[in-house]
């Protein structure tokens, strides 16, 4: 299958650290490129040679299933040599700092480093110390740009546009890098964004990002085209943010009853992994007419292929 090659593609950034750093032109270029890979990923021969001879290192300091496998698969389909490092067994455990790890890996001349780290800004720090492109696969509570890009692609493929849509992001916003990246990107692309969370999980001054704040889920879902649910990040919660999971489900779990407040054709999204029965009703999660959760995973590979290709150039 022929893949059209855009010769004059120029991104404004050397690294993909966050949506905040991207221009709308960058975003459109990445999304256009990703469209071409969706078809490829469905075809029989999924392998290209675009990144043949290039080395991609995946540095995952936090456990990850879908993002790590998605980046690994994306790199391999483009023909790159992909090395995924399990940082749990690495020198970091022996007391090596992130900068020293970066220097060590940099000496091996990689072309691209994909990093996931529990600390906000870790990818920024890494990018200052290496010569190759750095792709952020999630840093602390700050950004997860490829997730936002794949979410945008999913919405565009279903709704044909983003501009003018009303999109609700609901759940643990405080700890969510997905929420932040999505707010930046959806705002940039012209959507109206509603943020729904209990006050304990609502970050300070979030309204200054140009979003509508709701603590009442039903009000926040009113006339929404997209309902984006987030996972409760218990691992990042140091003290009591919530009374119980069952109370959270009662007020902020997505149920058919609450979904009725959104538009009739509203779609359900979730970046995964899901806590079924806590933030989302298990039947809704699997409802093929409403839920596009599997599609998000599928398009994730295409978006990451586009990012790898374009930031490698």
């Amino acid at each position: 299958m022929a893949i059209k090659t855009n010769k004059a593609i120029k991104l404004s950034q050397k690294h993909l650290l966050g949506i905040q750093e991207l221009s709308i032109n960058d975003v459109n270029l990445i999304l256009d490129e990703a469209q071409t890979f969706i078809k490829l990923n469905k075809s029989k021969n999924k392998k290209l040679a675009v990144l043949r001879g290039k080395t991609q290192i995946n540095l995952f300091f936090e456990p990850s299933t879908r993002t790590q496998s998605s980046f690994e698969l994306a790199g391999k389909r483009l023909g790159a040599d992909v090395m995924s490092m399990n940082m749990a067994n690495s020198a970091i455990k022996k007391g090596e700092t992130l900068i020293d790890t970066a220097m060590t890996l940099n000496a091996m001349h990689p072309d691209i480093i994909v990093i996931r780290h529990q600390d906000s800004g870790a990818c920024n720090l890494l990018s200052q110390k290496v010569n190759c492109a750095v792709l952020n696969a999630g840093d602390g509570s700050r950004e997860h740009p490829t997730q936002a890009l794949l979410d945008a692609l999913t919405i565009i493929n279903r709704k044909n546009k983003i501009e003018g849509l009303r999109i609700a992001i609901c759940g643990d916003i405080t700890h969510s890098r997905v929420a932040r990246s999505n707010i930046y990107l959806l705002n940039m692309l012209g959507a109206e964004v509603n943020i729904i969370a209990p006050s304990n999980l609502m970050p300070e001054e979030i309204e200054k990002f140009g979003v509508n704040k709701f603590t009442d889920m039903k009000k926040g879902l009113k006339d929404c085209d997209i309902v984006m649910m987030l996972r409760l990040q218990n691992e990042r919660m140091s003290s009591s943010f919530l009374s119980s999971n069952r109370e959270y489900y009662e007020y902020y779990g997505l149920t058919p009853d609450k979904l009725n407040h959104a538009k009739e054709d509203a779609l359900i999204m979730h970046p995964g992994p899901m806590n079924r029965g806590i933030e989302i009703d298990t039947k809704l999660a699997d409802d093929i007419n409403r839920s596009v959760i599997k599609e998000q995973v599928e398009l994730g590979v295409a978006v990451r292929m586009a990012c790898l290709k374009m930031f490698c150039e």
Partner: protein, 428 residues
């Protein structure tokens, strides 16, 4: 020591309400013999060597009430010798050292060691503080009386706050009985837990946990409420928010206490953190521009009494980490005066107000005869070229640690000479 004569200087000594062009004579014993406009070339014997300062300024040696020294335990960050040299380069001649060392300064046996090291290795006046609680654990009081007899000037847990209100009231009672000065770093530990920078849009954007200003306010309000019944010598180490300034202004007429502010919070705001600049990870955190302006206003109307450097040397390894992992604090004793002078040059504060907050006021709080140029006192002073432009470069800092919060900043005004007991110990 030979007798020294300086003429044609702009002398500012808030303690003696002195603000005039004149001279300074230092006797052979290192004490101030004469000062002011009456000291000029006409009444000094022309055989003497006279130094014409050509309009440079003479200030009393600065008194910095919040300085961390790495000794004992963290000598690789700063020892008494390097601290002393850094202080002299900044015109600081007296410091209060914080007890957050390893081991903690919390018992009489370690004070002897401290005094000895301070005397042998340092050329400036070291006034050590001890901790309020044993091992800075916030549970058991230290021996204020015995420690004070050994030469401890004040008590503070330094980077930590007394959380337990009952303990705080007992500390205040003891301090009242003994006439001891206690200094509180005001921060509710639970509200500030895991916090790294000011709560608000910057924290949300950077994905860092915030420290709300209410964490500071709640401790200040609690302590000032206790102080209404237990009148002890109480000092708030440093404040960071407009709210705190307001509370202090409201309460100042009712109870007696004093307040400090770090030069960092007077000069920088949270926007300076930019792209995760760990050198600006400070405690209390930098807050909004409105907060900074309120702090400056607080100094102007005497709500805030003193400026401190909050000099906290950290080696680079502790800063070359992610923001969450990086150590808190900035080295700043050398730049304390120059950075404070920025507020004079940009028209925010009068020169006398700044110098008072750096000399006479801290000395008054500490009840020490320093920070003034009274006749008969030890000649601790600095000569300053008020207009001299310079750029802060970390590799040029004298301090052992280079973690300045203002790398690359253009400043105006620099200490050219510093004297302690009449002896010139720093010359640019």
């Amino acid at each position: 020591m030979k007798k020294q004569y300086f003429v044609n200087a702009n002398i500012i000594d808030p303690h003696n309400s002195l603000k005039e062009n004149g001279g300074l004579i230092i006797g052979e014993d290192g004490l101030i013999e004469a000062i002011g406009k009456k000291v000029n070339t006409n009444n000094i014997h022309n055989r003497e060597k006279i130094i014409d300062l050509k309009g440079k300024y003479i200030f009393p040696g600065l008194v910095d009430m919040r300085v961390f020294v790495g000794e004992p335990g963290f000598e690789y960050k700063e020892n008494f010798k390097t601290l002393s040299n850094a202080a002299l380069a900044g015109g600081v001649t007296s410091v209060v050292t914080m007890p957050n060392t390893d081991p903690v300064i919390d018992n009489v046996s370690i004070v002897d060691f401290l005094k000895r090291r301070g005397r042998d290795k340092s050329k400036i006046n070291i006034f050590p503080s001890a901790s309020l609680t044993k091992n800075i654990e916030g549970t058991n009081m230290t021996e204020f009386g015995l420690l004070e007899k050994k030469g401890i000037i004040a008590f503070t847990d330094g980077t930590k706050t007394i959380q337990n209100t009952q303990l705080m009231s007992r500390i205040m009672n003891s301090a009242k009985d003994l006439g001891t000065l206690i200094m509180q770093h005001a921060e509710d530990h639970d509200l500030a837990k895991n916090g790294m920078i000011n709560s608000g849009i910057i924290a949300t954007q950077l994905g860092l946990s915030g420290i709300p200003d209410v964490a500071e306010r709640i401790i200040i309000e609690r302590d000032l409420t206790l102080l209404e019944n237990i009148r002890c010598r109480y000092h708030i180490s440093q404040i960071s928010s407009a709210k705190s300034v307001q509370i202090i202004r409201d309460r100042k007429g009712k109870v007696k206490f004093t307040t400090g502010v770090s030069v960092n919070n007077l000069s920088l705001n949270e926007n300076d953190i930019g792209d995760f600049r760990t050198f600006l990870k400070l405690s209390p955190p930098l807050r909004k521009e409105e907060d900074r302006i309120a702090l400056v206003q607080g100094l102007r109307d005497k709500t805030i009494d003193i400026i401190v450097s909050d000099h906290k040397p950290e080696d680079e390894e502790q800063k070359r980490l992610t923001f969450a992992q990086a150590a808190t604090g900035a080295s700043g004793i050398e730049t304390l005066l120059s950075l404070s002078l920025e507020l004079y040059h940009n028209g925010s504060l009068k020169l006398e107000t700044i110098i008072q907050a750096l000399t006479n006021n801290p000395a008054k709080i500490l009840k020490i005869n320093k920070g003034n140029l009274s006749i008969g006192n030890e000649a601790d002073f600095c000569i300053v070229d008020l207009e001299k432009p310079w750029i802060v470069k970390k590799e040029k800092l004298v301090s052992k640690s280079k973690n300045t919060s203002i790398e690359g900043k253009k400043l105006q005004g620099k200490v050219t000479n510093t004297f302690v007991k009449g002896e010139e110990l720093f010359k640019l």
